[in-house]
Symmetry: C2
Amino acid sequence: MTNDIPLPKPGSAVRGSQSGQPIMVLFDLLSRRWAMGILWNLSDQNRNFRDLQARCDSASPSVVNTRLKELRAVGLVERADDGYSLTGDGRDLFKRLEPLGDWAQEWIPTLAAASRDD
Amino acid sequence: MTNDIPLPKPGSAVRGSQSGQPIMVLFDLLSRRWAMGILWNLSDQNRNFRDLQARCDSASPSVVNTRLKELRAVGLVERADDGYSLTGDGRDLFKRLEPLGDWAQEWIPTLAAASRDD
DNA sequence: TGGCATTGCTACTAAATTCGTAGCAACCTA
DNA sequence: TAGGTTGCTACGAATTTAGTAGCAATGCCA
């Protein structure tokens, strides 16, 4: 075996789920800053670095770049002539992420209402 | 002012999506360390603090506690006689998260295979 | 009543990640 | 050839996480 790292952990360090449960490995990857935001923003069209950065709340270029490297390393994102794009797997994953968008739209209002009476 | 924070941001600081897009607010909250792992582990049954901690790769108690406070603050988790449990909203969110589990199970193997030939 | 184990959580330092900003090399484009 | 754009590296400061120790409260049992 040439490679037996705890999978994701592209950037190594602090993180790295030991449980071995696939979902935890995925959570580990997706919970890195802007990982989901990048996938989300690439879902409707390819985007170049600066565009992506702007759409991710002007995240610092180092984070965007690191995340792009990781997402490419695990085959969810790839380079395209016009910037970056989701791979087949990336689109597949996005489909499972998409429902969160609808839910968030219903949830945020209730959250806002609730936090008004603390 | 009693409360005008950019919603989630329960612990404030570094994070806090400005875009205002609900999905980004949700991603912001969920991408905090172990947030999704906690929701996931509470989905099948209530669990006490130490059990939860153990299931989250023995995450440090400070992180687990901080996350629990945040998740309770936004009404996704609540205390129960036998530990912590998901609220109605929490279960609702979990339903949208669940598909990721199936996807992860199919994806991890391909990831492992791909990383063998670096 | 006196251990003793379990549980929830606080404290604190070190390590890692993220932020924010500056800036450069490679490409257009006029 | 003088901008303007784009992709990305550098780097110090600010935050978050990790790891570990430990304490107060509660439950159980002899």
